[in-house]
Amino acid sequence: MTSVASSPAPATAEGSNPVARDNRGSWIPNGAMIRTRIMELRKRRGLMAAMIVVNVGVPTIFLLVRIIAHIVAPKSYGPAGGYDIFSNLVVGIMYFFGFIVAATLGCTAGSVDLTDGMFRHLVITGRSRLALYLARIPAGLALIVPLVAAGFTVVCAVCVFAAPTKIDYQGVPVPHGLSATGFNHWAESHPKEVLCGLPYNGPIGVQVPCYVNGQGKVIIPRGTPGFGHISPTTLKAEALSVAEQNYTAYSKLFLYPSVPLMIRTGLWIELEATIGFIVGLGLASLMGQRTVPVVLMIVLEVILTPVFSRTAIPHLINAQRGLVGLAMAHLEPSALPRGIGGGGGGGPGGPSLVPESLTVGICVIVAWLVGWTALGAWRMLKRDA
C-alpha cells in the first residue's frame, strides 16, 4: 500500500471538543432537539388539521349546532349540554378517534426521519440514536396532550353551562339531585308521569294504557277510561311503589358531569391518546414505515379490542387480559357508558368485559408503554441508516 505524505493538521477548531459541551453521547435528548421535533411535526399541515378536527373541531361543531338548534327551537331540541351529551361525546368520539389520531401522529413521528432521509443526517451528527428516538416522545405528547385537553375543555364547558334544568329519566322530566325521600315525594305528586313513564318490575294495581311523549306529557289513548276512576290515594301508593324501584337508577343520572368525573375522564382520554402515540411511535420505528403501522393500530382499536374485550375465550383469557384496550376499559370512570373501542367498562347496560383486576390493568398499560418504547428504541439503535 502506498502511503501519502500528510499535511500539517488544520488550525480550525483544533483541540476544541464540542462533545464535552453538548454531552452528545448521552441518551437524554436536549431541549433544542425536542423543540425542533415539535416544529417538524407541527408543520405537517394535513396531520395537524386532522388532529385539530377530530379532537377539537368535531365536538365543537356538534355542540355549536345543538346550541343553535336549542336557541331557535327549544321545544324541539333539548339543551346542548348535559351529562348524556358529555358521556356520548367523550366515549363515542374523543376516546375512540383520539386514539387513532394519536396513533397516526406516533406512526408519523416514528417513521418520517427514515422515509424522508433525515435519519442519516442525524446519525452523522454523532448524537446518540437513543436520544434521537426519545426526543420524539415529549415532542409528540406536547402536541397531542394539549389538543385533547382543548377539545375536552370545550365539551366540559358546554356540557356544564348548557346543561338541562331537569333530568330526562326514561322520557320523564325529573328534578335533579333528589334524595330517596324527595324522589318519593315527587312521585306522589306526579303519579301519572310515574305510572306511565317509569319502568316497573312486578304486579301493579293500576291498569291504564298510557305513555309519556317526547315533551314529557302523559298521553292516554282515546276511548280508554284513563285515571278518572282511580282514587288519588291509590294513585299515590302505586306511584310510590314504582318510584322506590327506580331511585337507584335515577340517582346515577346527572344534569351535568361532576368535577371529579370530568377530571377522571380527562385523564382517562389523555392516557388513551398517550398510549396511542407511544405504541404508534414504537411500531412505526420497528417497521420503518407509516402506512402499515397506522392500519394495524386502527385494526387494534376497531376490531381486536372490542372483540377480545367482550368475548371471553377460556383458553386465551390471559392473553386477552394483555390487551391494552381491555385494561383501559377497566380504568374507565364508572359513570360513563361503554364505547366502541376498548373503552367504556363501567357504564350500565353494556355487555360485560373480560374480567381483570385494576392492578393487572395498570401493569398491562405500563408494559405496553415501556415495551413498545423499548422495541422502537432497540430498532433505532440497530438499524442501518
Binding site: 500500500m1 452523522i124 446518540s128
Partner: protein, 325 residues
Amino acid sequence: MSTHTIDDTSPSKVSESEWAVETHGLTKRFGDNVAVNDVELLVPRGCAFGYLGPNGAGKTTLIRVLLGLTRADAGTMSLLGISVPRHRDRALARVGAIVDEPRFHGHLSGRQNLEILAAARERDARGRIDSSLERVGMAQRANDRVSKYSMGMRQRLGVAACLLGDPQLLVLDEPMNGLDPAGMHEMRDMILSLVAEGRTVMLSSHLLDEVQRTCDAVAIVDSGKVIRQGPITELLAGAAMEVHVDCSSPDRALSILAATAFGEKIDVETTGLSIHLPSGTGKDAIAEINRLLVEEGIAVYRLEEMQVSLESWFLQVTSRLGENV
C-alpha cells in the same frame, strides 16, 4: 507507512494523528457479497482526497461504515484520530458528510431542516446556519420548502448541513451529482477553499476529471478493495507514458522504431507517430527516440510527452476499459 494507535482517551491525542481517516482490515459483508474487503486506507489531513471506483465497487458502503451508518464486520478505523464506532460521538462531532443523494424533510424549509440538524449538534451549530447557507449560495432560498428545491439545491443544502459542525473532515459522496457546469465549478471552488482552511475533504465521485482538478490524492477501489492510493502526481508518474512525435516521414520513422525497444505499440498518424511506452519508462527514452530518428535523417519537428489523465489511468488499473464508469 507508520502505524497509529487508534484507541484514544484524550482530546490532545486527536491533534496528534496525522490521518483524517485511517482504516485497517476493514470488511463489510452483505451475505456472500463482500462490499468492503480488508480495506487499508489512509487519508492525510488537510487535503482533498478522492475516493474513486467503478459502480458497485463499495465506495458508499465504506463511507457508511466510517460514519457509523452501518456496522463493519471486521477491522478497525478512526476518524481524526478517534476510533469509531467506540467513540463515534466524539469523532463525528467534527465531521460533516453527505452520503448518497441528500434528502431532507420536504415540508420544511432549508433553514428549518438545518435547525433540526443543528439541534443535534453542539450549541454553536445553530449560530452557523446563516453562514453555512451563505457559503453554499442558498441564503436567498433558505426559507423555501425543500420539496421545491432542485437536485442541485439539495446538494448545496447537504453541504451546508455538513458545515454546521465546523468540521475538520468532510466526507462528500458524489457531491457534483445534479449540479450544472456553473454549480460544479462553484462546488470545486468551495472544496478547494475548505481545504485551504485546513480541513480535509474526502470526495467520492465518478467524475474523474473533476477529481483530478480538485484532489491532491486519491484511492482507487475495485471490488471492495483499495488497489492504489497516493498523491495523484505520484500515481500518474508511474502510469504508462505516451509520446507524440511530429516528423517528416511517419512511415519511415515507424519502420526505424519498430526494430527497437520502443516498437511495442506505435500508432501512425498523418503528421507523426504516437508511441506508447510501458509504465516506469524514464524521460531518457524520449531523448533516445529523438536520437534514433535524427541519425536516420528524419526531421523531427516536435516531441511531446502526453499527460496521462486520471481517467485513462483509472481505466488501466481497474481493468474496466470499455465499461461505463
